[in-house]
Subunit: 266 residues, 2 copies
């Protein structure tokens, strides 16, 4: 099965759909059509890919053999319903949502699966798919093979994961990426108030990420919370008095770090 | 001023002292002596450096021209007191603590300063000091010059920062490093319960760190909290019910991400 054997409709034009569709097109897959309910988004993506677009689910093309759905979880049900009516009944249908089960397709389409790329996609930033692990699931062995083939074309590492496992992968990814990034955002906010450049933190941020390639995160931990250094912790809490939500986050995370440290020592 | 013009006593044998003393020795500084109240630590470090050690502050060598103190903040006052009695009265005295003011030295020694390396040090892991920013402060221009010279020998970027600025650097570093690392630890904990390898998260962790070299953290944010996707957030909170402290952390961080996002859009 080669790239040109994939005839794909992309449903959605957000960060995931944009990066995934562009990568599939670059690898030689045929992009049959894109759908977004927002005309500007649909148009921009379709223009970049050189394919038609629609903003009306009833006009989705029945010519594809693979439908890839990347929409807000809350919109997924409506999209599934529409595709079951207007899409190609023999095609494979997948969504890319970490947190949604494959079950959303059951009884609606005859062949279904999930194609979950575990990465943090931003529109402004190119994605190197050779670095993106894909977690795939399908309701048939043939479906699994096709999804593995597609991930392989993108140059990615590919794992099989059940819907149950994927739920935990997704919540783990929220901690490892969204919450981690928020720690960077708080850091920038604190430095900006003192006229200090966020850039001076990048070596520390990089080293913190590099370390866990060699050590487990619990072994890699340092700082006042790990040592339970109450002098430092109390001074920091005092400094954050003016921003009670930050003080609360600081306090909770310090307690939790200390709890992990105590567990380790048992 | 060359490396051999630095004659240094290191007080402390923890992660910071160990890495810093070893790097200074490699660059050709003369390590006069190390002190730790724990004999095994003092011995190990002194053996590595090929220098004498003591576990008794009253026997600290008066032969140094620079005393570098890296001890728990709670131990600093006692060390300062002892050094003021037994150290060389003409030497420069510095500590390496991000969260302690230079003032701890005032009235105790005639020349003082702070030499704060902003990095997360683990004993098990080599440190590339060319990647470590140093924030220095001294009570004289000559002191600042000497500390800048020493940081320069180590190959580091060096900034001047007041005690007030350094307090905020330190708390910002706690968020960017310790709290970030704890997000990794929670991630590992959640995956382990599902038999999933932490290693599959490393591409996501790396990309999350790389992104903020190009985008500000607030711009780089993605995920359910940024989109305020209540379906996903509520499902995740439900999954964390069995670990109420994790559910609380998830909830607070999601709210805070949403608050930053709302502020940005104003």
């Amino acid at each position: 099965m080669d790239a040109q054997d994939f005839n794909i409709v992309f449903v959605g034009a957000g960060n995931v759909a944009t990066h995934l569709a562009s990568a599939c097109a670059r690898k030689g897959c045929r992009i049959v059509q894109v759908y977004s309910r927002t005309e500007a988004s649909a148009q921009t993506l379709a223009h970049g890919l050189g394919c038609p677009y629609t903003t009306d689910l009833s006009e989705v093309s029945p010519e594809a053999d693979l439908y890839v759905v990347s929409v807000k979880d809350s919109a997924l049900e409506e999209v599934v319903e529409a595709l079951s009516r207007y899409g190609n009944p023999d095609a494979l249908y997948v969504h890319t949502a970490g947190s949604m089960p494959m079950e959303v397709w059951r009884g609606k389409v005859s062949r279904c699966g999930v194609f979950y790329p575990m990465q943090s996609f931003s529109k402004q930033r190119a994605v190197d798919f050779s670095e993106v692990p894909f977690f795939v699931e399908a309701d048939s062995q043939d479906g699994v093979s096709r999804l593995k083939k597609l991930a392989g074309l993108l140059g990615s590492k590919v794992y099989e994961a059940s819907s149950e496992q994927r739920k935990y992968l997704h919540i783990a990814a929220v901690f490892a990426s969204n919450f981690t990034n928020h720690m960077y955002a708080v850091c920038e906010h604190l430095l900006a108030a003192q006229g200090l450049p966020f850039g001076s933190m990048l070596p520390l941020i990089d080293e913190t990420a590099r370390k866990v390639h060699e050590l487990s995160p619990v072994e890699a931990q340092t700082g006042p919370a790990r040592r339970n250094d109450r002098n430092v912790i109390d001074r920091h809490l005092d400094m954050l008095k003016g921003e009670p939500e930050l003080a609360l986050i600081y306090d909770l995370l310090s307690q939790d770090i200390h709890a992990y440290e105590s567990k380790k020592q048992q």
